[in-house]
């Protein structure tokens, strides 16, 4: 065999490997292209498509939906409402999740595993089921109002069909994601660092403020990003607990797409959701860089 022919061997085998890899990847790439890339790209096209009053597309182009969204104060209000609600939900989720995550981080053995399973288990249930559970708690004849009535309240508190109910439900639904992200962030929290701070004379609350909290910030940032993104795009809970009285971007996308059948408008709104998502990602990256 000549040296030249031998030298070709590995080059050929690398090309062969790449070919095999391409073959093995073909099905997943096809599904990604047809089921993901194409539909998402199509969204941008639809948002600038012209439609007749009947809802049928003419095949022409129009920026009417973008003009509508930009000029109608309803949509500005919708955007502000969505971002505000998502931010509040994110903060609430962080506040109720942090103690669980810290507790889990400090626990050992069987109890830790059991509680971890309990934290993850709600994720295995449809959000419909969990929202339904909240209806049973928050409705006029639900757990809270029955308890208040038993204590002598005359009128039931309106805990549902308003933003309060939506925020309570969303907070609970998004907790597992936040807890898992926080736990991942606690990974770099070495107990010896806390002990070192304690031996240097810091009382527990100062150890928390000066050591534990700063070290857990990357986890806080990640969990907040995740929660915020899930909050802006969630609509099952806002729909069911809002009872048609709470308007958010995601519920509007659903209504326009399924009820009004105004796809260009739905597409335009969903692209706005994407833009908010992109901004959140940018803010997160910046914060992460600052933390360090």
């Amino acid at each position: 065999m000549s040296a030249a022919a031998t030298a070709q061997g590995p080059a050929q085998s690398r090309r062969g490997t790449t070919f095999t890899a391409a073959t093995l990847l073909l099905p997943i790439l096809l599904i990604n292209a047809i089921g993901f890339m194409l539909p998402v790209a199509n969204l941008a096209v639809i948002s600038v498509s012209e439609i007749r009053s009947s809802g049928a597309m003419t095949g022409g182009w129009s920026i009417a939906k973008w003009t509508t969204v930009a000029t109608d104060p309803f949509y500005w209000e919708l955007l502000a409402n969505t971002v505000r609600t998502s931010l509040i939900v994110t903060i609430l989720t962080l506040v109720v999740s942090y103690p669980i995550a810290l507790c889990l981080h400090r626990m050992n053995g069987a109890w830790k595993s059991i509680l971890l399973v309990l934290v993850i288990s709600p994720l295995l249930l449809s959000s419909v089921v969990r929202t339904y559970g909240w209806i049973a708690i928050l409705s006029d004849r639900g757990l809270v109002n029955s308890a208040l009535a038993a204590l002598g309240a005359q009128e039931p508190f309106r805990l549902m069909f308003n933003l309060t109910g939506v925020m309570i439900g969303l907070t609970e639904i998004l907790m597992p994601y936040m807890i898992l992200a926080l736990l991942a962030g606690f990974g770099r929290l070495d107990p010896r660092v806390e002990e070192a701070a304690a031996t240097l004379g810091a009382p527990p609350y100062r150890v928390f403020w000066r050591v534990v909290l700063p070290l857990s910030l990357p986890g806080v940032a990640l969990g907040s990003l995740l929660t915020f993104v899930l909050a802006i795009s969630s609509f099952i809970t806002p729909k069911l607990l809002g009872g048609g009285r709470v308007f958010l971007l995601a519920t509007e996308v659903y209504d326009q797409a399924i009820v009004t059948l105004d796809w260009p408008l739905a597409a335009t709104l969903s692209i706005i959701v994407l833009v908010v998502f992109g901004l959140a990602l940018a803010v997160y990256t910046r914060i992460l860089r600052q933390i360090g």
């Binding site: 890899a21 990604n32 626990m107 309990l118 419909v128 089921v129 049973a136 708690i137 639900g142 959701v273």
Partner: protein, 264 residues
Amino acid sequence: MDERPISRILIWLASASFLFLLAPVLIVIPLSFSGDVFMSFPPSSWSLRWYASIGQHPKMIDAFFFSLKLAGAVTVVNLLIAVPAAYALVRLAPPGAATLMSVLTAPLLLPTIVLALAMLIVAARAGLLATPQGLFLAHLVVTLPYALRIISTALATVPIAVEEAAATLGATPLTVFRRVTLPLIIPGLVAAGALSFLVSFDEVVLSLFMSGPRLSTLPVEMYHHVESRADPLVAAISVLLVLFTLFIVIVVDRSLGLARTFVK
């Protein structure tokens, strides 16, 4: 690690949060035994009537069996597609493997509502709305990234030397995969399969956009029921679903545990 006392305040705070987290799931259980016509808590009387009434909702039952078939098919096809793909990305490492990985897991990152609308529009044009094929494709798109990630991680933990050892002993690449690699990634396959099944079975946003009066999944039927009527029927179904989910989790845990001792 030595025992470290957890402060009392933290335990109280965490317990309260835990109660909050589990409350909606826990309340469904007593509610399902309600004897009332409408939803109220606590119920004024107890009965099994809502469990019995599931039988009078053929749409729910049809939707359950469709969801079951859908999740089963999605799981099987998912593994058949994800295993070769993960193998190609991890073991054959073609140029741009890292980029491909992020492209292929991107559907996980995208807000579901955006993806759902995008799919609705394309599926409507292709005549796939409210068809098993349309729902199947939609579920495949969102479950594949999970499976790909889990199986890739599992593959990455199999030492290459073990595969090389098999090759030097005379095993062809296909035999190496069948006799060495595959048995060693079984825990990953079980986890990927279980997750795909549960994600598909519980998926509601995509299904809501992609289904119609002719065909819908159980979560979608439940959503419509909760939206239109406030009765304890969904509580009874939910309890059965919790038991069903628990069953799957236990089966998975068992087989994973078995696989673990098997590997050791």
